[in-house]
Symmetry: C2
């Protein structure tokens, strides 16, 4: 049976971290909200799980994954569940925990990236908080991105199995997510991110190598990969990048 | 051997979610950064793990937990690790995943609570962003807190084993964390939180019942429980509460 991924149909957003894992593992999955309402898919199918009072374990928000009777929300929890099933995490508890810890730290950066364009209210438009966004983005570019990338650089450089992967000697979902984080940062803040990557060469190399992974490269070149846009988490507003 | 909890010594912060689990389970633990430097504890002992180039798996930030050779950072990952060891999570994968999903959603609220007083920069003082904080706090009080509490209320009301606990029929670390979230919100935004709790009676009841748990009550009345203060995540600035 196929995995069902439920996520907003027009943005990469947090769902993309799950899509990359499914695609890299060549998993059989349906991107439900992007499907046809006539086939029981589309937005209505997704919102049912969030809004129906019959849901004993309702997700708070997309993305969520359905696998038979299992329903799981929160990007990092979805990857915790999928990792072993897709062969995208090591076998030991220690490796799994460390991979998850990396993922949670990536999630923290993603939330901060979102807040650069929505510092004072997710319910307001960017246009209504441009002044505040300029302040928040400045700190994000100058302090937060360099700090986070330096940490991932350390993790890669200190990996006893080599700097090609974050954990052990094989591709994990954390590698895919770090690729996506860097890809998003390069889209949103190209100048600042290029600068920061010069001091994090192994992170830059991982970004390049993951993009060359056969199945990932196919996916990234396909129509299944939604383009970055200004409705997503990583938004390119030139005035926020220096 | 004792668990070692490493966290900032003068605030509850994110470390408190781990402390509550350790205390509720009567676990043997050392709160390292609050200990004596002369005994190899204190801040220096904590910072060593973050700053030493010898750390193969350096935590990005406190809190982190050390258990023998295992070192794990990120609050939710620490609880994922401790849950089964402290008897604070169900036995099935489904229960563990759901408990973790709840924890990750609590973590999201905690991050948003922090951003009410630091909307444009963690590196700036609150006094330097009071105007922006007023905007962010308004949305948090009026939209976010009610939405999150309504979701937890649904989760409690739909629990097939009864509304006393979030997952199954026994205390889990998610219950402890929801207690702490509500406790923090009541400290920071007493007016708005009391209002929101009127529409989430099961959440309010859980907050009361967890505080009466024998070992928790002992802890909450002890000197080990640091008081809420304006250096932590939940800060009471009367101008942000309406």
């Amino acid at each position: 049976m196929s995995f069902e991924l439920h996520y907003w149909p027009t943005i990469q957003g947090r769902g993309e971290f799950v899509r990359l894992a499914l695609e890299a593992a060549n998993a059989d999955y349906v991107d439900v909200a992007r499907g046809c309402e006539g086939e029981g898919q589309g937005m209505a199918a997704m919102m049912y799980f969030i809004e129906s009072p019959d849901q004993v374990r309702p997700p708070f928000a997309p993305p969520f994954l359905i696998d038979g009777k299992v329903i799981v929300g929160q990007t990092a929890a979805i990857l915790l569940y999928l990792g072993p099933r897709l062969g995208l995490v090591g076998k030991s508890e220690t490796q799994r925990l460390w991979t998850h810890q990396l993922q949670l730290t990536i999630a923290d950066v993603v939330a901060e990236a979102h807040d650069t364009h929505h510092p004072v209210g997710t319910g307001l438009y960017y246009e209504d908080q441009k002044k505040e966004a300029a302040k928040r983005a400045k700190e994000f570019r100058q302090a937060r991105v360099p700090k986070y990338l330096a940490w991932f650089e350390n993790v890669l450089q200190r990996n006893p199995r080599g700097a090609t992967h974050l954990v052990g000697g094989r591709l994990s979902y954390a590698d895919l997510s770090l690729f996506q984080l860097v890809d998003g940062l390069l889209y949103a803040f190209p100048k600042a991110t290029q600068r920061a990557l010069k001091k994090a060469p192994q992170v830059a190399a991982l970004h390049t190598s993951v993009a060359q992974h056969k199945r990932l490269a196919d996916y990234l070149g396909s129509e299944r990969r939604i383009a970055f846009n200004e409705d997503g988490i990583f938004r390119h507003y030139p005035e926020l990048d220096r």
